[in-house]
Each structure stands twice: as C-alpha cells, then as structure tokens.
C-alpha cells in the first residue's frame, strides 16, 4: 500500500469501528549521514523508517495510537487502541479535525538529483569541511565532527472530513565541530548549514566558521560582574527565539503559561522588532503545503514593530479562541499527536551590518555562545545562562571571555533591543540577524 492508500484505509476502519471523527498520518523517511575524522570515514549511517499515527475523537474524547508495522492487522490493532484510549481521556468540546481546504499550494520541496549523486562525492564533501577547518589555523587540532547529512521524506494524511493529501521533500546539510588548542587549553567551535539544494552547500565556509569560532575563544577569561550592552550573534538569538516561539503559542496562553497572555495589541518589544512564522517560506527547511493536521501553511506575523499581533494556532486552540488555525499543528513524528509549534520562525532583519552594531557599542559583550538554554523559564521569562564571547570596548572587539552568566527576563530583553542587524541567517527552523540589547547583567568574578 502507498502512504495515501494506507491513511485512507485506516480512516475507513476507524469509521467502521465507531469513531465519530478520525485521522491517520503516515510518515516515511530515508536518511544518510557521513561523519569524517582525520580524512577517513568514521561513521556511515543509512536509515529507513516509517509508521502511522491514528487520532480518534469519540464523544469529545481524544485517543491516539501508533505503529511502525504497516501490516493490516497492526493497523487494525492501532485503530482499536486509539479508540480504547479515547474512553479514558477527558471530554473536551474543542477537540476537532479540520475540513479539507479548497486547494493546497504546490511546493517544490524535493531535490530529485540528490539520490543520484554518488556516495563518494558526498564523502569528499565531508572531507572538504575538515580540510578547510584544519587549514584555517594550525591551532585547530581535533575534529570532533565533520559531517554530511541528507534526508528524504514523505507525508500522507487523511481524515474523516475528507482531508486526503501527501507531499514529498528532501534536504541536505553540512556541519562541523572543531577544537582549537594552545597552552594546555582547548576550545571548540561549530558551523552548520542546511539546504534543500545540494549545490548551495558550502563545506569550506562551514569548516572555516567552526575553526574561527574555536580559535577566537582561546585565552578567554572571566571579567568582573557588571551591567553592559550585549550584542547577540544570530545563532544565539535563534536560541532565544526557540523559547519565544513556545511562549507565543495559543496553547501556552490558554493554559496560563505564557508571559504574553492578555497582551495582544500591546507593546512587548522595542520598536523595529518584528517576529514572523512562515510555513510557506520559499526555500524554508520547515516549509510544507500543510501542517500536521492537513491545514494549509501560511505566514503569520506575531510581533509587528514591537506590538504583539497574535499567537500560533492549531485546530484545537483556534476553536477555543474562536479563531482560525494558523497552520501550526506540528508533529515530532508519527508517534506523537499534533501539538502546536513554529515552522520557519524568524526575527525580521533591520538595516545595520554586524560591524556597524559593534562599532556603535561603547562597552559590552559580543555573545557567541550560550549554555543551559533549557534552564530558561518559559512561563516567567526569567533566564540565567552561561555565556562566552568577545568583550567590546569603544566599538572594538578586544579580549575573549567565557564562564560568565547573563541573566534577565525575556520581556526585559525584547524591550531592551536597540539595534537589529541585516544579516538574517537560518539555523533549520529558526532565523535571526545580529541583535543588540542595551543593558543586561553579565556576571563573572
């Protein structure tokens, strides 16, 4: 059975078994990973995976079951398990499935030539990452990782209201993590790039980026505690955007765990700060014709020039708020129920270059690495994370620092943004330019 036949058959079976509403989601992927060290392939991984998730609504109660076994008996058993699970869950009038749309956008998500490129070429690509990193500086001594990766995937969805759709996609990427050593000290740096297009991968640039990040942290020390400006590297900004994206879901608001509750229309960030989620972004790694429930993907402005414009919605939260889904039902895999999540989530770029922002900073830190982002409290917005970077004095990068802590609150941070760069860069599903926050506590000695 094809994925599409499989999901349609599962929905039919659920209907026969007495489900009022049902949905089946099928996913299949094929992955390749090549890791190179010291010029040789250290790890090669080939993977094939598929499975089906069944969602049932009965008397307002939700049940879910999944199986990796595509046989008919396994599928029937999963339908039965989903129905049984619905019997012990709470009834909720807002549980619903979306109706089929008039049409889905046609998207070109797969690079069909990717599979035809010989394995040896991909291995050589991974070797080039390592070579360029090693050549960047003699102090680059260890390759923690130099890798090429690709993934091909297929998604099919059907529900009892008539949704029945599929898409295919692929992407590839290169990544490096290199270690620089000097005077008994070691520092690491990394670089990653993902694209839907093999020809766009730039292994040399990624090798150099990882190497330069490692080398520039050598000799880093801890400075005294003070309040000063913080210039966030785009990658570090995307770490904070991950926290922001979950606080900007309607689910977080409805459950009383968002710091943005009751703030629609209010100023929540400095002027010039615009945050967007766009599931249809051309070239976006998270772009797809529809979300995890079959709702068409679209562009949603969340923060417009500092003002809160709205939240991310799926069918459930939308029904509860009396609003339409924004196409943000997301699934970790066929093994999970559709929840709420961002797609291509980014901070809109401004006018300045990174150099200009640093030039205009009298004193502060150019923040290149943060540690412990998982400790950020998404509800209160309080954060206190380990920090490393380069100290800025009179507009110049001076000495590397590490082992510092940057503490504050997400709202304080958003309101404190006084410069936004033009250098928007995506790291998978999150994108950001360089950003400066006027003053934050930087703890050290």
């Amino acid at each position: 059975m094809t994925g599409r036949d499989l999901v349609n058959a599962a929905v039919d079976e659920a209907r026969r078994s007495g489900a009022e509403a049902s949905e089946a989601y099928f996913e299949r992927s094929e992955d390749l990973t090549i890791e190179v060290r010291d010029g040789a392939v250290e790890n090669l991984k080939v993977a094939q995976e598929s499975g089906v998730g069944i969602r049932i609504i009965r008397s307002g109660c939700l049940g879910f079951a999944y199986t990796s076994d595509r046989s008919w008996p396994a599928l029937r058993e999963a339908v039965g398990a989903a129905l049984a699970n619905a019997r012990v869950s709470s009834s909720d009038p807002f549980n619903n499935l979306p109706k089929p749309p008039a049409a889905y956008a046609v998207m070109n998500l797969a690079d069909l030539r990717l599979k035809e490129i010989p394995l040896d070429d991909k291995i050589e690509l991974a070797r080039r990452i390592e070579r360029s990193g090693r050549a960047y500086d003699p102090r680059i001594r260890i390759t923690e990782q130099a890798a090429y990766e690709e993934s091909h995937y297929q998604v099919s969805i059907a529900n009892s209201l008539g949704v029945s759709a599929s898409y295919k996609g692929s992407f590839c990427g290169v990544g490096a993590s290199l270690v620089a050593g000097a005077d008994g000290e070691q520092q690491s740096g990394f670089g990653i790039q993902y694209s839907r297009n093999y020809a766009e991968l730039d292994p040399e640039a990624i090798g150099r980026e990882a190497a330069s990040k490692a080398v520039r942290l050598l000799g880093a020390s801890r400075l005294p505690t003070k309040r000063a400006a913080v210039v966030f590297d785009p990658y570090v900004v995307t770490n904070f955007l991950a926290v922001l994206s979950s606080a900007l879901t309607a689910e977080a608001v409805q459950k009383g765990r968002s710091l943005f509750a009751d703030k629609v229309g209010e100023r929540v960030a400095a002027a010039g700060v615009t945050v967007i989620d766009d599931g249809a972004l051309p070239g976006g790694l998270m772009s797809a014709p529809f979300d995890g429930e079959g709702v068409p993907s679209r562009r949603t402005v969340l923060i417009q020039d500092g003002k809160l414009a709205g939240f991310l919605q799926n069918s459930y939260t939308g029904a509860k708020d009396g609003l339409a889904s924004t196409g943000n039902a997301s699934r970790g895999s066929y093994k999970s129920t559709p929840e709420l999540g961002s797609t291509n989530f980014y901070l809109e770029p401004g006018e300045l270059t990174q150099e200009q922002i640093i030039k205009q900073t009298d004193e502060g830190i150019y923040l290149t690495d943060v540690m412990g982002m998982h400790t950020v409290n998404p509800i209160s917005g309080d954060f206190s994370v380990g920090a490393a970077g380069i100290w800025i004095e009179h507009g110049e990068l001076t000495t590397p620092v590490r082992g510092m802590v940057i503490a504050g609150n997400m709202l304080e941070l958003l309101e404190g943004i006084d410069a936004v760069g033009r250098d928007l860069r995506f790291f998978i599903g999150k994108g950001a330019p360089t950003v400066r926050v006027a003053r934050l506590t930087i703890s050290g000695e």
Binding site: E49, T225, S336, S384, V405, A407, R439
Partner: protein
C-alpha cells in the same frame, strides 16, 4: 523475532570485509498519559519495532536500520553496511546465550495494568498538587510514561542476549502565580521496574513536592550574583557529578582528546574526599539495566578513587582501542542509533561529615536543595546548572529562599575544590542527551561544599536605578 541460526546468517553477511558485526533487534511497547488544566488530555499507546546492524572495521563504523524485522530485509541491510567490496576471510559465527548476574524484578507489568489504573495515578498526583493551594496554583501538568523494550543482541564474537527492559516514570510540573510573579516547581520519579514504583502514595507526594516548590519560589527573592560558597544538598541528587565529571569520563570523548580528563588515568584530578562511581546494577534505579545495548552485563565501575582517576566508561569499540574489557556502558536510545559510551547511575560516594555541620561551617553562600537541568562543554569542562530550589546561607544558617540562580563553573576545578563531603545520600534521575540520543540515567551524591562558584543572578540595586531612569 528471528532465531539464532538466522541471526548467524545475517551476521556472516554483515561481517564481510570487517572486524566485527552486530545485530540489535527491538520491539517496544509504550503508554504515555498527559494531564493538564484538570483534563486527561493525551492517552497515547504505541508499538515500534526495528533492527540496527553495524559493521566495524578499524576506526570505521557503518550502521543501518530499518523497521522491517523479516529475514530478507535484514539480509539486505547487512549487505548494505558490509564492506562487501573488500570481502576476505569470513569465519563462522557461533552464538552463545549470555546471562546477567543483575536482577531487576518487575512486580506489576505495565502491559497487563489497565490504562484506567494508570489514569488514576495521574489524577492522584494532580489533585494532591492542587490541594496545596487552590488559589495560587495556576497550572498543574502531570506526565506518565511506561515502556517495555524487548531486545535481541547478537554479534560476531558470539554474544547472544535476549532481554526485556521495563521502565515507568512520572513527573509533575506546577505553576504558581501571584501578582506579576510566575514561578514553577518540578519533581519526578522513575525506575527500571513495574507499576510498583508508584506504591505508597508516591504520586501524591510527587504532586505535593512540585506544588510546594512553585509556591516557595513565589516568596523567594532574586538570587545574588557573583562568587560564593555553594552547598549542594544530598537531596538535590547527583546532576552535578553527572555533568561536571561523568561526561568527561566517557571513553569516546577521552580518546578523542575532547575531554579535560583525556590521558589523566592515575592522576589526582579531584580532592581526596572525592570518589566517583558508575553503577548500572543498583536495584530498580532509572539508569539500571541487566545488559547494556551491546550485550555486556551492567557493572560497578570506580571512576575516581579518593581523587585519583582510576578508569573510564567503555563500550565495545573504545574498550578495544584501549585494550581493556568493556565496562557495560555501551548504550543507545533505540535501534535507530549506534551504541556509544554512556553513564548508568553515576554517584559521588558519601563521606563522613553530617550535612548539618556542613551548613554550620559555611559563613555565607548558597544552599541548593533541588537541582535543575545542566549542561557541560566537555572540551573545556565548563558547566551550567539552574537552581529551582535554593536558599541563602548566612552565618551558618539557612535563611531566605532565592530564585533564578544559575551555577557556572569548571568541572575539574570544582572536583579539586570540594572541601566537605556529607554522610547522607540522595538520588535524582533524567533522560541524558548526547549526540542526539536520549537514555535514562540516575545520579546521586551526598551533601557537598564547593568553596567558590560563580552564581549568576541579577544585580538588584542597578535594576532599581534603571527602573527609575525609565520612568
């Protein structure tokens, strides 16, 4: 799953041109329940199966996996990972069943426990949390999960293991709010055992603890910033030893010179008061197992003995490289992953000082009674943790609770600094992530004192000034 002779045939194909080949087959059945906003929102059950085959030649590993468990699919996968082009001598494989000395009994299996009973446990936790303060508790979230993982592991060295791992886990997250202040509290239990884990009103206790923490933090003041003495209470568990030292003692990182403990065997790397052990055999612990994911029995390994580094945690590949026996630390998240050296239950062994005395002897500093998540950069040893339940120590006494504290420091530096080690002992547990793989672990430690750590917080007085300026 396949029988012995079929596995032998698959191994012979995978081994062509390589030193070593292995098949790992898995069938996992799991149930997850989620409760939020007083609703049983998610009841999810599922079955997943698959096999991973690897072929190892020198420093090269080829790994493949598939959901299919039939012989033809696995023979095809074996051919894909083998170095067929370099085909040489293939020696016959004779599998010998292995037994483990470790006993991990399961009293009530999750797969025969009605889902209604599991839902009742979740309700017990959520109601107990709510009872702590109906007004201030804004949200209570309870998560329940059980898994039964059946594995078959066979390799070209003749290892043949069939095993079943049964694990249960529950966590409670409470959110309390008063005015503009919102705080959270968390607690969890888990074990390599059946539903008996929850006996003795454990879910109610879990709910109480999570709610108590959230409510306490509402009243807490912001943590001070700067360098100070830090006392980690035994009840905080061993997250610190796991992050600050455990990861650096995993042999893959050490061999690649990616650890601050690389090449330090025999060296004094910690205070003489410090003994660190990894032990996968502790009865019922979340990080325990009979066999690791390469078919080696779990064991107790002393990593640091009175400050001296005595050994690392090994899997098959790293042990061969160092010419030592594997230590039963080759673990993987599932058939989708190749095994790598991982911790099981890692602990800092108890000392002699009564915990009360450690606090009495601390003039001023921070007491950590519950540890949050942590992260370590193994290359330079830097780590960071958050402190969900912390208190000030003033003149040898525990005083006000503080919130928002983060501990940062350097693993080797902290181990050398530790100057008091308590006679108590407490456990914590979690899912530890490394190279994109999560595995269940536990950790433990007594109360310890670190004379000087950087605590990240907020400089209160300057904030006040800024506030006035903004007005």
């Amino acid at each position: 799953m396949l029988d012995k002779s079929e596995l032998e045939e698959i191994l012979r194909v995978a081994q062509r041109g390589s030193d070593f080949a292995e098949v790992f087959m898995e069938r996992t059945e799991s149930t997850r329940i989620g409760c939020e906003a007083r609703q049983i929102e998610r009841v999810i059950s599922g079955r997943e199966q698959g096999a991973g085959i690897r072929a190892v030649h020198g420093d090269n590993t080829a790994y493949g996996y598939t959901n299919a468990l039939d012989k033809e699919s696995l023979l095809q996968l074996a051919g894909q990972v083998s170095r067929a082009a370099q085909a040489g001598e293939v020696s016959p494989v004779a599998l010998q069943r292995r037994e483990s000395p470790v006993d991990l009994p399961v009293v009530r299996r999750p797969d025969v426990t009605p889902v209604e009973d599991k839902v009742a446990l979740v309700r017990e936790a959520e109601e107990s949390a709510r009872r702590q303060d109906e007004k201030l508790l804004r949200q209570v979230t309870v998560g329940y999960a059980d898994t039964i993982q059946q594995v078959t592991i066979a390799n070209t060295e003749g290892v043949y293991v069939e095993d079943e791992r049964v694990r249960c886990r529950m966590s409670v997250n409470a959110v309390a709010a008063e005015g503009t202040v919102i705080q959270t509290g968390y607690d969890s239990i888990g074990g390599t055992r059946g539903e008996e884990l929850f006996d003795g009103e454990k879910p109610a206790e879990l709910g109480r603890q999570a709610a108590r923490r959230a409510l306490l933090m509402l009243k807490a003041r912001r943590a001070p910033a700067g360098r100070m003495a830090v006392v980690l209470s035994g009840e905080a568990g061993g997250t610190m030893v796991h992050e600050a030292c455990g990861h650096g003692l995993e042999a893959d990182l050490a061999q690649k010179n990616l650890s601050v403990y690389s090449g330090k065997k025999g060296a004094q790397v910690a205070s003489e008061l410090v003994t660190v052990v990894d032990d996968g055999t502790l009865p019922g612990r979340f990080g325990s197992f009979r066999f690791d994911d390469e078919g080696n029995p779990a064991q107790k390994t002393v990593l640091i003995d009175q400050g001296g580094l005595t050994g690392y945690m090994y899997d098959h590949i790293t042990a061969a490289r160092d010419g030592v026996a594997p230590t039963g630390n080759g673990r993987r998240q599932s058939f989708q992953h190749r095994p790598i050296p991982r911790m099981s239950t890692t602990y800092l062994a108890p000392g002699e000082t009564p915990p009360e005395e450690i606090i009495r002897e601390t003039k001023s500093g921070l007491l950590v009674r519950h540890m949050g998540g942590g992260q370590v950069n193994t290359t330079n040893g830097d780590f960071v943790f958050d402190v969900p339940e912390g208190y000030l120590i003033e003149n040898g006494e525990v005083t006000a609770p503080v919130r928002g504290a983060t501990l940062t420091g350097n693993g080797p530096d902290v181990l050398k600094q530790i100057d008091l080690v308590g006679s108590d002992f407490g456990f914590s547990l979690g899912i530890c992530g490394k190279e994109g793989q999560g595995v269940p672990v536990s950790d433990a430690q007594p109360t310890i004192r670190i004379p000087s750590l950087v605590v990240g917080g907020i400089i209160e007085e300057e904030i006040a000034e800024e506030g006035e300026g903004d007005d």
